[in-house]
Symmetry: C2
Subunit: 185 residues, 2 copies
Amino acid sequence: MKYNRVYLAGPEVFHPRALELAKMKKDICAAYKLEGVFPLDNELDVDSYLLKHQAGLAIGDANEKLIQSSNIIIANLTPFRGPSADVGTVYEVGYGRALGKRVFGYSNVPQLFESRTREFAGGGSTAADEFGMSFEDFGMHDNLMIETGIVRSGGAMITRAAKYSERFTDLYAFEQCVQLAARDL
Amino acid sequence: MKYNRVYLAGPEVFHPRALELAKMKKDICAAYKLEGVFPLDNELDVDSYLLKHQAGLAIGDANEKLIQSSNIIIANLTPFRGPSADVGTVYEVGYGRALGKRVFGYSNVPQLFESRTREFAGGGSTAADEFGMSFEDFGMHDNLMIETGIVRSGGAMITRAAKYSERFTDLYAFEQCVQLAARDL
């Protein structure tokens, strides 16, 4: 495990400019003497697998190994296709937390979780969603497990109101996480 | 750590009949000689905290301890407020996986992840969402990190087409997970 290695978790892997965003994040890390590693660094030949299910497992294995080799995670927890963060990223936050990694999170949407979920369920004053299920309200940015993991790991959660169209490309809050991570080393 | 203790992860904590569902799950576990533990078992006095944020962290801490004390996780990964599973549950899957727990997952929606996310983004033939971001397609039930963690832990992912209104209360697939978990002990 390298003590200055940062696993760059986030839904950017699905972005058409994923590799460009990865390079920008790595460059920011390097400016603070940190080494950023990105999920797509694995260089797996996805097409070599007979079944796409097997390719998926191989990517998952490779990402877990990358997290093991890092001591810091900086996770893009911007709401993704719904009121919460990308679940792949959230899995990695939990995984890294259990391994004792320091986890930082950022979101380019500052609206709190309770407000976002209520809005998603269709109304400002509704007390529950269509299944009667309540809205978590602990003044946090997403489900309490995520923010607990981040805080208890010694990391921090940073939010910023980015422009809607730049929600998945704005790296200002990301850089703030990098600054905090570098300061602690 | 108890070798027959199962952490019952899932969004049921938000359900109006949460404690009843917890009891039903525990009874099913007991029928297979397993001990089910539920997040709300913590018996925290949430109102005793000055800030709700502190109460949230205390719940998170307590849930992590419950997972540590278990050797199996059975996670309800039914899509919750969007195309993916509840992120609190997903965090716990990643957390438990990193600690070497055996993780089983179930979903009461058998539609595959790629199809669900495409539908959520608004169209059957669209290649990307409004941010240009692609749809993961590895023939899995949710993000590949989740299913990789489950498969590599020695667990299994089970799906079932429950009635829409019973999506968060149908325990048939849950019981199948319990059967598999009990058989392996």
